[in-house]
């Protein structure tokens, strides 16, 4: 199962990747913004996306919309991990059809639970 971690902060990518590795997930691709993520989607068979919201060039929200509007990847599970915690933000994320949402700073337990909750509906 291949995960795509999208975040403009190398520190955050490293933290998420390390957390995933501690869950036994080793097949991980990284992207630094939405545009890069779309490119990585073209060249890899991704099964799960974990994305930040605030990113230059293309935000996580725009990435989600682009994915949902594509025929190829519209059903990909997307977990948004961001500092944005306002109600309007969550509503926007829901409307863009993210599968779940985590606000930073998060704990590995929360990350694992959210991944499980998404996978549980799909396995």
């Amino acid at each position: 199962m291949k995960f795509l971690v999208v975040d403009d902060s190398p520190t955050m990518r490293r933290i998420v990747v390390n957390a995933l590795k501690s869950f036994g997930i080793d097949d991980i691709v990284e992207a630094e913004d939405g545009q890069d993520a779309l490119a990585k989607l073209q060249s890899n068979k991704i099964d799960f996306i974990i994305t930040d919201w605030n990113m230059p060039n293309m935000t996580g929200l725009d990435l989600t919309k682009a994915i949902r509007n594509s025929d190829q990847w519209k059903d990909l599970p997307i977990l948004m991990v961001t500092t944005r915690g306002l109600k309007e933000d969550i509503i926007q994320a829901l409307q863009a059809k993210v599968n779940n949402y985590i606000v930073k700073p998060f704990t590995p337990q929360v990350l694992k639970e959210k991944i499980l909750s998404i996978l549980k509906t799909n396995v």
Partner: protein, 305 residues
């Protein structure tokens, strides 16, 4: 005719008199106004100087903020490198422990078998055992093996604790991303203030006589270009103290939402799901995950689909 001219003349004189009276009343007011303007001018000049000074300080302020971001990023990465090293050493220690456990288990089994059987092989082996080994064959030997086993378990527990602590430190480093966003937000505000002050200076003609000296190299005066490009959440300031509450609120919102989130049309290949995750899925297949809120939402959505 002469009477009328005289009346007209008197009327004009009266008007003139009224004008003088008005003038007499207005003059003190005008004097006060002039005094006020003369008093205000130094104040305005002071404001002007202050604005100019602050405008020149802003790029420096922005540079300092950029340095803070870079320094925290560097420090965070150094800590992450160390944590990676700790994880690597824990893995080696765990692997060594496993080998010791394996050898310990094999020795225990073999010796137990050999001590309990009266086979020729055992007898042969007993003859081969050196004086040192014979010492091990006393009653305390199995107790010692048991002690060794519990020691190995306790060491493994300690290693697991170290791993958890290292993971906690690693996750606490998320603060670097959050503070970087906060600094970027402050920098953005500085840029807005800089732009508005420049506009304000340009609007006052007496200020423009000695225009604020814009450096020719725009890179050195434009705050936006001084700071590393960071996409930021303007409300990131709240994210440190209220994250737990916010996550609960978010889960609630997701629960209450009637928006359909996609469910993978092709079921995932279970073989591809990492063991630990797959294990957790099996464990939880008949019971709710601790965050009931999330499940409710997604169960509803699955039913809808």
């Amino acid at each position: 005719m002469k009477e009328k001219s005289l009346e007209s003349f008197i009327s004009k004189v009266e008007e003139l008199r009224a004008l003088f009276v008005l003038g007499q009343r207005v003059i003190p007011l005008l004097e006060e106004l002039f005094a006020f303007v003369s008093e205000t001018q130094p104040l305005l000049e002071e404001i002007n100087t202050s604005i100019k000074e602050n405008l020149t300080k802003m790029p420096n302020l922005s540079k300092q903020l950029a340095k803070v971001t870079e320094a925290t990023e560097l420090a965070t990465n150094e800590i992450l490198d160390i944590i990676d090293g700790v994880f690597y050493k824990i893995d080696i220690a765990n692997s060594n422990l496993s080998q010791i456990e394996k050898v310990h288990s094999e020795i225990s089994t073999r010796l137990a078998n050999k001590f309990s059987s009266e086979t020729t092989e055992t007898k042969f082996l007993f003859t081969e055992i050196s004086g040192e080994s014979q010492k091990l064959s006393n009653e305390n030997f199995f107790a010692e093996l048991k002690d060794l086993s519990s020691l190995l378990n306790s060491t493994r527990e300690i290693l697991d604790n170290i791993r958890n602590d290292a993971s906690s430190i690693m996750l606490a480093l998320q603060i670097q991303d959050i503070t970087a966003q906060q600094i970027a937000a402050v920098n953005h505000l500085l840029n807005i203030v800089q732009t508005r002050l420049n506009v304000l200076l340009a609007k006052f003609p007496f200020f423009t006589e000695e225009k604020f000296e814009q450096k020719e190299d725009i890179n050195e005066s434009n705050i936006n270009l001084l700071h590393k490009k960071i996409a930021f959440d303007p409300d990131a300031v709240d994210s440190l103290s209220k994250s737990t509450t916010r996550q609960e609120e978010i889960d609630k919102l997701f629960n209450e939402s009637s928006v359909e989130t996609p469910v993978i049309s092709q079921p995932l290949n279970e073989d591809l799901v990492p063991n630990e995750i797959a294990g957790a899925l099996d464990e939880n297949s008949n019971e709710a995950i601790s965050q009931e809120d999330i499940d409710k939402l997604f169960k509803e959505e699955k039913n809808n689909n």
